[in-house]
């Protein structure tokens, strides 16, 4: 049975239970009403999933599908509230990606098999569904949903929660909803986005009314526009850039205004934790969207200019390597977007190379993990790994500090950057200074960013088409998430993902050999040592990709055209290689030459590195040490 026919059949069957958006009662407490409505939504999802499970028991596929779709819709209507309050439980049990996960915070390795609605959705469409498995997953789902529902009834919902939930949902809909993240290859993404969007309308209007006339007028109009755009939209032709500019960003800005005008507290006044996001951004492409201090693991406000300047000097100094052959800048040249143009980078031995491709450092700070294999969790430890690597700096922390102490100029620079330290040039000051410099290399001011901020009206039509493809048909945006276009997961930006693509050893399309670099599975961290992290690599940013060739962890692909060819064919598995845990769907994307050109044009509109070309004017002097005299600043 075809998928489309099944959907039609399913829709015909949906008449029993219809979900609805929240309608405030005319009297009573608004947030209490939200709580009742969202509790009822959970109960509806439960009823519908029970119905689905019963249908699976009876092996009635049509009824199973219609029940499943009804449940999805009920869930989506209340998604903004449910995700806000039950994020981690939902990710694990209710609506997480259909991939195995490692159970967190336990002292043994336990793989949680895929569960929840996205896993169920993969099964219910099969020509011969595994009813037994669907029933098992359905029953599991109902148990976890019941636990959430019980707790949901106990929580206090305050006004700020509702507004914040709305604003996170706006980011979610733009980055995960309209991109088809939850329903790859399915037409239902936009329909579900419609329901999730419409589910928030009355809540936004409620606070808009409280905020004043301007918002009371503009909000309903913006919602109307959004619903018109989404209603019955075709996945491939949906204009995502228009949706971003005319619906999501205006609402993102207005809801912040409303929150501040109404005077409810924001999470920044309540939450004692440091969050990956701030509550300052008015546009989801504002740099303030992300809280840099959270990623740096120390307040970036406390970083001094002297520390950054010292970090820059260290970054360019080959004295950091044991044989004075490599500086950070050797493999991270500013003019190449802080990469080196090589497939894999030069090692400290002439003519020899390290194992992997040099990633860009631009915006690198916005990550929870570093290196292609995600082995480091902070910028400072990233530097330590480079120092320890026998093929790279190959120098022990204290050896390096002893070496630098031989330069009175360095001693003075450290004393200026770290006044009051017990002694100058301690190993942790070296790593801190370099990390301080690297975190300064962030900018969201590319031609595309400028366009989204209304400062660059002349964005090429190919770029616009490319954005729509990137975020839609080509499914790039379901791993390279906006706005970093990296594996930093919206809307809470609390995780950095890796993917198994099945990358080949070379770009030789006639001789395809799978690259066996184990990647994340062998990064030395306990929870990584699992087979589904074999061949898994960090999803890098697409920002500045124009100047950071060659591509992939092994640098095997010199051009973006070849990269697009690889993806268009469904990665390694799509090319016929045996990649058992590939996370990239092996399906052909069906992109034509013009579409590929458009996507590349879009990616090239994300170039933004020119404000970071500054080099130190000289390297500190090591008086009387011949092998350290005449060190040169690396040049491109």
């Amino acid at each position: 049975m075809t998928k489309k026919f099944q959907v039609a059949l399913a829709l015909a069957c949906i008449s029993v239970i219809l979900s609805s958006g929240f309608r405030p009662s005319v009297d009573g407490d608004f947030t209490e009403g939200i709580k009742q409505w969202s509790t009822e939504s959970l109960q509806q999802v439960s009823t519908q999933m029970q119905w689905m499970t019963d249908a699976a028991t009876n092996q009635n596929q049509a009824e199973m599908l219609s029940a499943f779709h009804a449940a999805r819709r009920s869930y989506k209507r209340a998604e903004f509230i449910l995700e806000y309050f039950h994020h981690s439980a939902i990710k694990t049990h209710i609506n997480g990606a259909p991939l195995p996960q490692v159970e967190k915070k336990v002292a043994d390795m336990n793989v949680l098999e895929p569960q929840g609605m996205q896993r169920i959705e993969e099964l219910v469409y099969e020509d011969e569904p595994d009813y037994q498995e669907i029933k098992r997953l359905g029953t599991d789902f109902l148990n976890h949903l019941a636990a959430i529902e019980k707790y949901h009834q106990r929580i206090n919902i305050y006004d700020r929660h509702v507004i914040e939930a709305i604003r996170f949902e706006l980011v979610r809909l733009m980055t995960l909803g309209v991109t088809g993240f939850e329903n790859p290859g399915s037409d239902s993404s936009l329909a579900e986005t419609y329901h999730a969007f419409a589910g928030m309308q009355s809540s936004v209007e409620h606070y808009a009314t409280e905020a004043g006339e301007k918002y009371a007028t503009e909000i309903p109009g913006t919602f109307k526009r959004g619903k018109q755009q989404l209603k019955g939209a075709d996945f491939d032709s949906f204009d995502r850039l228009k949706f971003l500019n005319e619906v999501i960003n205006p609402l993102y800005q207005m809801t912040l205004d409303i929150h501040l005008i109404t005077g409810y507290e924001t999470f920044e006044e309540v939450n004692r934790s440091s969050e990956p996001t701030t509550y300052q951004a008015r546009n989801i492409f504002d740099e303030e969207l992300l809280n840099k201090s959270h990623f740096f693991k120390a307040s970036v406000e406390d970083i001094s200019k002297e520390q950054i300047d010292l970090g820059r000097t260290l970054f360019f100094d080959p004295a950091l390597s044991f044989n004075n052959s490599l500086a950070c800048a050797t493999c991270h040249e500013p003019e190449k977007g802080f990469t080196d143009g090589l497939p894999t980078s030069a090692s400290n031995q002439l003519g020899e190379f390290v194992d992997r491709n040099s990633p860009t450092l631009l915006n690198a700070v916005y990550s929870h993990h570093y290196f292609h294999d995600l082995r480091a969790d902070r910028l400072e430890s990233q530097v330590e790994f480079v120092m320890a690597n026998p093929k790279e700096f190959n120098i022990k922390p204290y050896e390096l500090s002893d070496k630098l102490k031989k330069s009175s100029e360095y001693v003075a620079l450290f004393q200026t950057a770290y006044p009051g330290a017990k002694e100058p040039i301690q190993p942790h000051q070296i790593t801190h200074a370099i990390a301080a410099y690297v975190q300064s290399l962030s900018s969201w001011n590319s031609p595309f960013d400028q366009y989204v901020h209304g400062k660059n009206p002349d964005l090429g039509e190919d770029v616009k088409r490319g954005f729509n493809l990137f975020m839609g048909k080509a499914a790039c945006g379901t791993c390279h998430f906006a706005p970093t276009f990296a594996g930093l997961v919206p809307p809470f930006y609390d995780d950095t993902e890796s993917e198994v693509l099945g990358v080949t050893t070379t770009n030789d399309t006639l001789n395809l050999v799978l690259d066996k670099d184990p990647g994340r599975a062998k990064n030395g961290k306990t929870p990584s040592a699992t087979e589904f992290y074999e061949l898994s690599f960090k999803t890098p940013t697409v920002r500045n990709i124009e100047i950071t060739a060659p591509y992939f962890h092994n640098g095997a692909y010199p051009t973006l055209e070849e990269v697009m060819w690889f993806y268009n064919r469904g990665g390694g598995a799509g090319l016929g290689l045996d990649v058992p845990h590939q996370t990239l769907p092996p399906d052909q994307l069906g992109l034509n030459e013009q579409e590929i050109g458009d996507i590349i044009a879009f990616m090239n509109s994300l170039t933004d590195y020119k404000s970071f070309l500054e080099r130190p004017d000289h390297l500190p002097d090591f008086e009387g040490i011949p092998e350290l005299q005449g060190r040169k600043l690396t040049t491109n």
Binding site: D29, L260, S299, Y398
Partner: protein, 608 residues
């Protein structure tokens, strides 16, 4: 004001009491009726030992030269060994819960040892210079596992003997293959000799010398260390290979209780033949439904020790859900241990259950109340608990259950400040002859009410519980520290003189500025100088808005649950808390603030 659609605001005033108050974003800071002063904390906080920043003295390892290297991070257990000579206070040992490779300190996790004395002026701790027998000199010393017992890893909890402060470190995270350990040398390991590839060890084990095993099997033991000389003494091969977390030695210097952080986790007892000699003695696993409740496991057979779980299951032992830390209180004569819980343990112990291991009555009762069975996928154990064992009678009971379970209809009470979530670390401090349990939370997750409903809220808490209270309730928990995101509290313990609490802030955190954005061992000193009221909740019974500050714990208590807003000196709102009976002000710098409650009463708050 409350969101009311009706225009009859005045008529619904009674309703408004239960609804949301809106606090003005800014207030005029002049009209204030009364002032509350929070005196400067009488406690002194010191950063004793900082990962990466402090240098530790290492022996030569793998042919690398001896020398000073940046300390490992991920501080966990803190051991304390009193100095009987009186020349110092004693030795502090800090675990590192890692498995990473490190050329000089040794692969795996490890331990750092340092010696402290009190500054007679203000009781703060001074880290002493030492020269050890092996020639190392300095302040911080990496405990040598490489040359003595053949590496270590994931050093989580441990044991401080209540008799004399002997120290064992626990190798947690159960390893099942050589690929999951960090050692560069994964050739077979022989006790007393070393690896097949020639990494030699100096220390063996009586009766087991010559036994050979896979390299990964040489982790997950309790390992005795000598904090004075910063060397490992022996792996306790006669206590079984387990994913150990904690343990305790009783004052008889013979009896050891220890627990495994697993699902199932076993509770184990060892009784030495001779006081002080733990190389020979009998080993037992707890079985609540047997008489006696301890079933002996033949620990003279090395294969039994390698396969402790097999033996425990065969004995029909009692299963716990992740046993964490274990302490013994001389004041009560009881052993306390945490079982931190695991959301859905069913699938993890169903096999052992089928093979004959038994569930403890608490698990059965909980599952029954949930309408299910412990082995079923829908059995949930979100919050964990603290157990109490009487070693004289072997009576076991839950001292305090994690929670309250918000789902079961319990009233919210003063949630969240009296919500106990996933108790993990346990310590003791005796102040003025009163003994308190120090309970560290370590969240397994943020769902199901473990923290207030917030995105990404991962705040862990440290509680004190007066052990004179026989049947404590949540209201008896006194929250003494709150640690923000990521910076998990571990290892909290009191020094024997009752003056200091030592604790670790395990992960780097934005809240700490450079260079304290690393794992930290912190000493908080001055507890013996505090009035007893510090460790109690105030009798907050006033009818009108009243603030009861606790300068030591940096808490403000209020007269009942209410909404609270804090404004800075200029009248700008900086913090709002809803439905709280207390808040902590740990991160509020000294200065003038204003505190307003939901009824609009404002007080001036002077934080010193």
């Amino acid at each position: 004001m409350k969101k009311i659609y009706s225009s009859f605001l005045a008529l619904t005033a009674c309703l408004a009491l239960t609804a949301q108050v809106k606090f003005d974003p800014e207030i005029e800071p002049t009209f204030v009726t009364s002032e509350v002063v929070v005196p400067a904390s009488p406690l002194i906080t010191q950063h004793l030992f900082i990962g990466t920043v402090d240098m530790v003295e290492c022996n030569s390892t793998y042919g690398n030269p001896a020398g000073a290297y940046p300390a490992k991070e991920w501080h966990d257990f803190i051991g304390f060994t009193p100095d009987e000579t009186g020349n110092s206070l004693g030795w502090v040992t800090v675990n590192h819960e890692r498995i990473n490779t490190n050329d000089n300190i040794g692969d795996g996790g490890g331990m750092t040892s340092f010696r402290v004395m009190r500054d007679t002026a203000n009781d703060t701790l001074i880290i002493m210079d030492q020269t050890l027998a092996d020639g190392r000199s300095g302040k911080f010393f990496a405990v040598d596992f490489v040359n003595t017992v053949g590496e270590t890893g994931m050093n989580c909890g441990g044991i401080t003997s209540t008799y004399d402060g002997r120290i064992w470190t626990a190798e947690e995270w159960f390893r099942t293959s050589n690929t999951s350990i960090a050692d560069r040398d994964t050739s077979d390991f022989t006790i007393g000799t070393g690896t097949a590839n020639g990494q030699m060890v100096s220390n063996g084990f009586p009766g087991f010398d010559g036994e050979t095993m896979k390299k990964y099997q040489n982790v997950n033991w309790m390992v005795e260390v000598d904090p004075r000389e910063a060397v490992a003494i022996r792996k306790q091969y006669n206590w079984g290979r387990q994913g150990f977390e904690g343990g305790t030695v009783l004052p008889d210097n013979k009896t050891v209780f220890m627990g495994e952080d697993g699902t199932p986790g076993w509770f184990t007892k060892f009784v030495a033949d001779t006081p002080g000699d733990f190389t020979e003695g009998d080993l037992f696993v707890f079985k609540h439904d047997a008489n006696p409740k301890w079933v002996q496991i033949d620990n003279t057979v090395f294969d039994n020790m390698l396969n402790y779980k097999r033996e425990a299951v065969a004995a029909g032992a009692t299963m716990f859900n992740r046993v964490e830390w274990v302490v013994y209180s001389e004041a009560t004569g009881k052993v306390y241990f945490t079982a931190t819980g695991r959301d859905n343990p069913g699938g993890r112990w169903a096999g052992e259950s089928e093979d004959g291991a038994v569930h403890n009555p608490n698990t059965i009762a909980r599952a029954t109340a949930q309408g299910t069975h412990p082995d079923s996928g829908d059995y949930a154990d979100y919050y964990g608990r603290v157990w109490e064992l009487d070693p004289a009678t072997d009576d076991l009971r839950v001292l305090i259950e994690g929670g309250p379970d918000l789902a079961d209809g319990t009233t919210l009470g003063a949630y969240p400040d009296v919500h106990l979530t996933n108790p993990d670390g346990l310590g003791l401090i005796t102040i003025d002859q009163k003994t308190y349990l120090l309970i560290n939370e370590d969240l397994n997750g943020t769902s199901y009410g473990r923290v207030p409903a917030e995105v990404n809220n991962r705040t862990c808490e440290l509680y004190m519980l007066d052990l004179d209270i026989t049947n404590p309730t949540y209201d008896d928990l006194v929250r003494i520290a709150v640690v923000p995101t990521g910076a998990e509290i571990t290892g909290a313990m009191g020094t024997p003189d009752g003056k200091s609490i030592l604790l670790n802030s395990q992960h780097p955190s934005e809240e700490n500025t450079f260079p304290y954005n690393h794992s930290l061992t912190v000493a908080i000193t001055g507890w013996d100088q505090l009035p007893a009221s510090v460790f109690e909740r105030p009798n907050a019974s006033a009818k009108e808005f009243t603030i009861y500050p606790n300068p030591a714990s940096r808490m403000l208590y209020f007269n009942g649950m209410q909404d609270i807003a804090i404004y800075d000196a200029s009248g700008k709102r900086i913090r709002v808390e809803r439905q709280v009976s207390s808040i902590d002000i740990i991160d509020m710098e000294s200065g003038v603030y204003f505190v307003r409650n939901g009824e609009g009463t404002t007080k001036r708050l002077v934080v010193q």
